[in-house]
Each structure stands twice: as C-alpha cells, then as structure tokens.
Amino acid sequence: MPDSVGKVRVHCRVNGRAVILEGHPMARLLDVLRDELRLTGTKEGCGEGECGACSVEMDGALVNSCLVPLMHAEGSEILTIEGVARERLHPIQQAFLEHGGTQCGICTPGMILAALNLLSRHPKPTETEIREGLAGNLCRCTGYTKIFESVLQACRESERGS
C-alpha cells in the first residue's frame, strides 16, 4: 500500500523466507534484491531485459528482475541464486562447476536460474529445448557449448538420483 512519501510495503517470500520490502512502487525488483536484501548474486548486465543476468524465478516463472516493478512482487514467491543451494550445491550448480559452464561468472546466476526453470518444465530436455530455454540469457565467454553440456549432465545426474 502506498504510504505518505509514495513508498510501498510489499510482502513476499524470497528464497523461502517471508520478507517485507519497502520502496517506490516502480523500483526495480533487481535493485531491491541487491540493495535492500544484499542479495548481490543477481546481476545487472543491460537493464533492458535483453541479457538475462538478472533472471530470478517469480512464482515459478523466469523473469528479468530489471523489468519487474516492486509492486508486482506483492504476495509472490521469489527464488534467487542464493536460494538454489541448500546443504550442498544443487546438481545444476555442480554440473556447471564440473563441465565448464561458468567462465567469468557474471551470467552464471541468471543462467543457472534459467536452467533450473527449464528443467522444471522439461525434466528431459531435447537439445532444441535447452537452446530455447536459455535463449534469453546471454553469455559472452562460453559460446554456450559447455552450458548445454552442464545442463545435460545435470539431467543425467538427477535421473541417476531418482
């Protein structure tokens, strides 16, 4: 609800924890996550929804947090890179580590969120589904090849685990 100075208080859950976020209704979710919650794993690459470095999951959907106004986060469940690993690395993180899926690392948090989101929709993705699922996340280092390998490896691991 807007208060006297035009700020809103937004109730949501971030990485499973209930939080109240305060800010201008049009503040970018990206800035609120980074500046208010100090969740700096979410990166800004372009600020115009092109590069995907700021990708987070919001109610199960992959969004560019630079394009999400704070007020849209009301009541939502948000997952950032900081919430992906629990006791240990998530299989996708482990696969990125083992198969060269990360180089400079700046696209990696968004890329891992995109991969996670892809696998939640397509647990056994085809190569085309992987390419399409990651098409909103730009990587300048890897040429994507090792990222595809990492995603496939994570699928194999989860098959073995299940």
Partner: protein
C-alpha cells in the same frame, strides 16, 4: 610423462563462488559514505569548449564537481604516449569524450544532474572514415592523421609482377566490434593526501591503471594501489579503458574526500568505451599456374579513433599476421593506423589479427578460384613448414604441420563429401548450404622484444602450514588464470592443487607480471610460476628438508622447518627471453613471437535466399597449441572465441552516425544467443613447446582470427557471393547477391 594435474580438467578454482552467486564483482561492493559518480560527455565529435552551464533546478552545492583544472598533476591517461586527456579541457576530439565529473550519494539525483549540465561547444569539422582521414582535408592528429605506420618486407614483390602468370587483387573491410562483456565497466576509488589513492575495479591490467594514476596525481608508486575485483569478462575491453575510469573515480574521491563508485550502464559502456578497430585491406597477389604464390603485396589500414592509445600495437599484430602461415618468397605489408573523430578503438581479443586474417583468408579463396584450384589445394601448395620463413623473416623452428591440421579438420567436418553434396543439392533450393575454412596462426605473448622489455615477475611464497601462495599480476576474467596457475604450481611442487592459493591481484601485494593480454598468461606468466615453483622445490631439497619422494604432509613439514630455521620461504622469478631469438624493430623483421598457435577452422552455413538470413550449422576448430593444461578450460576458450567470431562475421554491426555509435543497446546490437551458435567441435593437436610451462603455448586470441573468414568462405561457397566485408548482415549479403546476378 605422467602428470597429476597438467592435462587434467581440474575444476575452476573460483568456480564455487561463481555458481552460488557469492563472488563479489565491483558493483556488489559498497563502502560506508560512498558517493556515486557520473561522467558528463561531449555531445559532438569535434569542437572547442566555450562554456559549461549548470541548469538551476539542481542543488549543485550538494555535488562534487571535477573539471580538467582539478587534476593534480598531468591531464592524461598514460599508456604509450600521453595524448589522451583524462578530461577534455579546451577541445573535444570525439563524441562522448569526458569533460566533467559529478558525484552525489543519490544515484537518481545524480542522473538528473548529469542531464542538467550543458556543454557549449563550437563545432570544428570532423573526420569519420579511413578515407577522409587519409585525404587529410582536416588534420586532427599530429601532422598527417597517422598514429603509426609499418613497412614489412621480405624479398622484392616489385620484381615479380611482370613475370607472374596471374595477378589477383581484392579489397576487404571489417567493422567495429563491441567487446560486450556482460559485466559493465566499474570502479571504486578512495583517495586523499593522507592515504594516497586506492582503486578497486573490474580490469585486466592492474599495473596499467597503476601507471596511469601515478602520472595523473604525480604520486610515487607506493602511494597508489590498484585492486582487481572479480571481473565479469574483459576480452580486451578492460585492458586500457579502466585506466580512464579509475582516473575519474579517483579524481572524484580526491576532491570529495569520500569513496566514489562509478559503474557504467550498458548504453554508456557501449557508446563511450573502446571497440575493435575497423579496417581496410588491399591485396595484390602474384600466383603461378601451379598455384604457387610468388608475391603478396598487402596494404592494411585501421581506424584508431581520436587518440593513439594502443593503436600502434594493434597495427603491429595485424601487420605481422597479415600474410598468414604461408611460405611466400616475396611479401610486402604496408600498414598504418589513422585518426578519426570516433572514440578511440582499442584492444579486443585478436588485437588487429582478426582484421588482416579475414582479408587474407577470404582473398586466398578468390586466388584459388582464379587459378582454378580448390581452396585447400592452393593452401596446401603454399603452407609454411618447419624450416620455412614467415613474411617477417622468422624461420619456423616449431614442428608445424598445417596439412595435418587441415586433414583433421576436414575429416571431423566431413568437408569434401559435404562440399560436393551441397553443390548438387543447392541447385534449385531456396536454402543454400556451403562449407568454408580458414588456415591461420597466432603469436603468443608480446611482439618482438616486448616480453624482454616487460621483464615480468612472479613470486611464490610458502606458509608454515605448507600452503603455497602464487603472487602474480595476471588477472582472472573467466579465462582460467587461477586454475591453470594452481595446476602448474601444484604439478611442479608435487602437492595438491587445493594446497595452492592464488592471491587476488593487488599492486600492494603482487609483483608486475605484465598485462593480462596477448595470449601470454599461460605461456609467459605460467612459465614464471613454473620456474618459481621449481626453484622453491629445489630450495627445500637442497636444504635437506625434503626427500626426493614426498607427499603434501612431508612438504608442509619441510616448509615449516625451513621457515623456522631460515625465515620466509619465497621464490621470486623474472622473465628471461628464450636464447637465440632476435627482433629488429627498425626493419620489422625477425622472431616476432617465441611461439605460435596454428589452426584450421571449418564452418558450415545455410543461407535462406529469400531473406538472406545466414545460420552457422556446424563448426570444427582444430589447433596446435602446445600442451593443453586444462582441456575443459581450453576448449571453453576456443568455443567462446568461435561464438564471438560468429558475432564478428554475421551479427555485430556498430552503426555510426557522426562518429557516435547509435545502436548502443543489447536490443539493437546483436550478439550470438544460444540459438545462434552451432555445435562447436574443438580438437587439439599437442606438440609440447620447449619454453612453455609443461609445454603450453597461448590460445586466448586464436579463435577470433579464423572464425569469420571460415564463415565468409562458406557463405561464398553456398551462394556465389563475393564476400568482401564483415559483418555479413542480411542487408550486406543481399547487396552482394545482387552483384552476382547483375
């Protein structure tokens, strides 16, 4: 030889932080009381500054404002010569040139303030193209608009023309390319008379920044400190530009007395910072009926933008690589870097070589066609071999076998079968397919005597617990410095990789290992790490503290006892140039590089003749790079470089208007996405190099050289278009196709 770590895909050292989001990049840092900084830039390409006006609706008294007159010592960004000002004082020489700096705690008010500064400039006539610069109607730099020129000669080309069976000429162009690291440029500075100047930044070359700040502030070296933070990609874009950004942040911090952070947004990063030099190349080639190339006359020009910056060095590498891995008795390369009123063009992976290699490899396909040979047969008849002499007089002492590389690349890509199949299937089809290749070399390390002058240093230090710290100025920016250094140190010391700590580059701690550029980190600095590790091990063996066979525990005990008895256990090394290499800077002849990577790349494309859209369907990259230290990381370097090369060839089009990039957004400057890259198959040929650590040579820049010409040749094969320039956007291809049908 049995190895424990070399040649193994050891996991990325800083990988866990990167996959969990805990790695701290520049913009993730915040200091108490920190201000944000912004840059007010010239709106026009050239003119005389008349006035700076501050619109009244901003509380200017809350702002720190820095102009050229506030610079404590010399107003320059020190690099090779000091021609580039840190802030324009009287004249501006390119659009987006920095004129004034602002700082304020509130980012949003800061942006409003930046827009409220109006710089009045009296326009002067400007120069925007290589042709205009060479025509010299306006002299915008020096006496003749020329930053640097080279003449490189072997034999005498002019003796050949009259008797040659055939002469083939061609003119080729390449465009600017934005590095487009995903982390924009950023810097934080703290500065005062009392503490000196400290900057933290996303950068490749801490000691470049260090040198620039010393000159700017007139401070001795111990009062300047440069710390590299986790760097989200560089590709050359963070080689020289961070010196400018560090200067700006430091000036604002100096004047305000508070820490100041400047992080560019994507638009500012794209329009104001460096790009790959646009180029023009003319080839005139004399060839015998049997396909033997008799003479190559090459004229190579690059657009350096408004200030000299690194253009002479970019030109040098482009010049030396211009005649490729061929054994031609007569070669002349005349080259120059010229001034235009564009922001200075700068370092970008490949550093001049992708430009001249594109021209050569495209031209040789045309030469082959002219003599009636297949493109591979023409190359085969001219390839350099061990003992042959390159265009600059270097006798090749490496066991180079270009034919073998070509054979492997053709086998892996099924080149011959596909070539003939596409030729028959293309008839009557709207989708036309083609294959093409490029053969090339890339020298590792600084050119000529460069490495001798740099005299790079590295230091290893053991702790009483038996951990070994590697202190080097080489930065990690994704290419794997930390991982390969730990592999080299661990292998040589005979302890685990997990026992090695790579110290984050900070000029207060690490020695100057030279810049992290020029495909030199693995080969040159890795070599220093190896020597230092070897010396440390020998020290412990000679002191009788280690037996010839030992494990990590006995190594730790030996370190502990050594430190207890003799004090710190350190091993410091300085670069020594391999014996027997000579370079003549005057004649531009001799041993240009101590080692080369050799490669053949094959591209397969399909072109939709209705829309002129091009897709790369398959890519094979075969290269000889000496011993591969880490196969996963090395393949990752090549794959990423190929993707950037695909961008260079097809998509990445900087649109200029009055010397200003007008498509400075990721929305309209297009880099390859996961949908655009083909399967990239990377194959290594490993011939250990005697002077590289464990036999390694350099690979970082290599993939940028051959990717674009391989694609261009494939497009020519598919469509018959006489491809002469990149990027080959659909518009460019349509134009070329019209010429075919005209």
């Amino acid at each position: 030889m049995e190895t424990r770590f070399i040649g193994k895909s050891v996991q990325r050292k800083e990988g866990p932080e990167k996959v969990t989001g805990s790695a701290q990049y520049l913009d993730d840092l915040a200091f108490p009381g920190m201000l944000h900084g912004a840059t007010v830039r010239s709106p026009i390409p050239r003119g005389r500054i008349r006035a700076i006006n501050f619109r009244p609706h901003i509380p200017w008294n809350e702002f720190t404002i820095v102009r050229a007159a506030d610079i404590p010592c010399k107003n320059c960004v020190a690099l090779i010569i000091d021609d580039q000002p840190c802030l324009a004082a009287e004249v501006v020489n390119h659009a987006e040139e920095p004129v004034l700096l602002l700082a304020h705690p509130d980012k949003y008010l800061l942006e409003e303030a930046r827009r409220a500064v109006q710089i009045e400039i009296e326009p002067l006539p400007a120069v925007f193209t290589i042709e205009e610069s060479l025509a010299r109607k306006q002299i915008i730099w020096g006496n003749d608009n020329v930053f640097k020129s080279f003449l490189m000669e072997k034999g005498d080309v002019d003796e050949v023309w009259a008797s040659a069976d055939l002469i083939v000429e061609g003119r080729y162009e390449t465009g600017a390319q934005e590095q487009l690291y995903i982390e924009p440029q950023g810097m934080i500075a703290r500065a005062s008379e009392a503490e000196g100047v400290t900057v933290w930044g996303s950068l490749q070359c801490p000691y470049y920044v260090h040198k620039a700040l010393m000159k700017l502030f007139g401070l001795p070296k111990e009062r300047i400190r440069v710390v590299q933070t986790e760097t989200g990609g560089g590709f050359g874009g963070k080689e020289e530009y961070p010196s400018m950004l560090a200067a700006h942040a430091a000036l604002l911090a100096w004047k305000s007395g508070k820490p100041v952070k400047i992080v560019y947004d994507r638009a500012e990063d794209m329009v104001a910072t460096t790009k790959r030099h646009p180029s023009q190349t003319r080839h005139r080639t004399a060839v015998a009926r049997d396909g033997k190339i008799l003479a190559m006359d090459i004229d190579f020009t690059i657009d350096g933008g408004a200030y000299q910056t690194l253009s002479p060095v970019v030109l040098s590498r482009g010049t030396i690589h211009a005649a490729g891995p061929y054994n031609c008795p007569n070669v002349r390369v005349r080259s120059r870097a010229v001034a235009t009123n564009a922001p200075p063009h700068g370092a970008f992976r490949g550093f001049g070589a992708p430009q001249s290699v594109f021209a050569l490899e495209r031209h040789l396909d045309r030469v082959a066609q002219a003599v009636g040979l297949a493109p591979d047969e023409l190359r085969r008849r001219n390839f350099i071999r061990e003992g042959g002499t390159l265009a600059f007089g270097q006798i090749v002492r490496e066991k180079v076998d270009m034919e073998r590389l070509m054979r492997r690349a053709f086998d892996a890509s099924d080149y011959y079968a596909k070539r003939s199949r596409f030729e028959s299937e293309n008839v009557g089809s709207v989708i036309k397919k083609g294959t093409g290749f490029a053969a090339f070399l890339h020298g590792a390390g600084f050119t000529g005597s460069g490495e001798e002058y740099l005299a790079s240093e590295a230091l290893l230090e053991a702790t009483p617990e038996g951990r070994v710290r590697v202190l080097a100025g080489s930065t990690e920016m994704g290419q794997g410095t930390k991982t390969i250094f730990s592999q080299i140190a661990a292998e040589t010391l005979g302890i685990g990789c997990d026992r090695i700590d790579i110290v984050q580059p900070d000029t207060a701690d690490v020695p100057n290992s030279g810049p992290t550029v020029a495909s030199r980190t693995a080969m040159i600095v890795g070599g220093l790490v190896e020597s230092a590790a070897r010396a440390m091990r020998e020290t412990l063996l000679h002191a009788g503290l280690l037996k010839p066979r030992y494990d990590s525990i006995s190594f730790a005990q030996a370190c502990n006892r050594y430190i207890g008895q003799f004090g710190p256990l350190r091993s410091f090394v300085k670069y020594q140039h391999p014996q027997g290499l000579h370079w003549d800077d005057e004649k531009y002849q001799g041993d240009a590089y101590s080692a080369y990577a050799w490669a053949v790349y094959v591209a397969e494309v399909s072109v939709d003749m209705r829309t002129a859209e091009i897709h790369v369907d398959d890519f094979v990259a075969v290269q000889e790079v000496g011993k591969v230290i880490n196969p996963t990381l090395a393949a990752g370097q090549i794959e990423g470089g190929v993707a950037q090369g695909i961008g260079l060839a097809l998509y990445e089009n900087v649109v200029w208007q009055q010397g200003r990039m007008v498509n400075g957004q990721m929305t309209n400057y297009i880099m390859p996405t996961s949908m655009d890259v083909p399967p990239i198959r990377v194959l290594f040929e490993e011939i250990p190099y005697g002077h590289g650590p464990a036999g390694a040579k350099g690979i970082g820049e290599l993939p940028l050289d051959g990717t674009a010409p391989a694609i261009a040749n494939a497009i020519a094969h598919a469509t018959g278009a006489d491809v002469r320039r990149i990027p080959i956007t659909p518009e460019v291809l349509l134009e070329m196709l019209e010429q075919v049908h005209a």
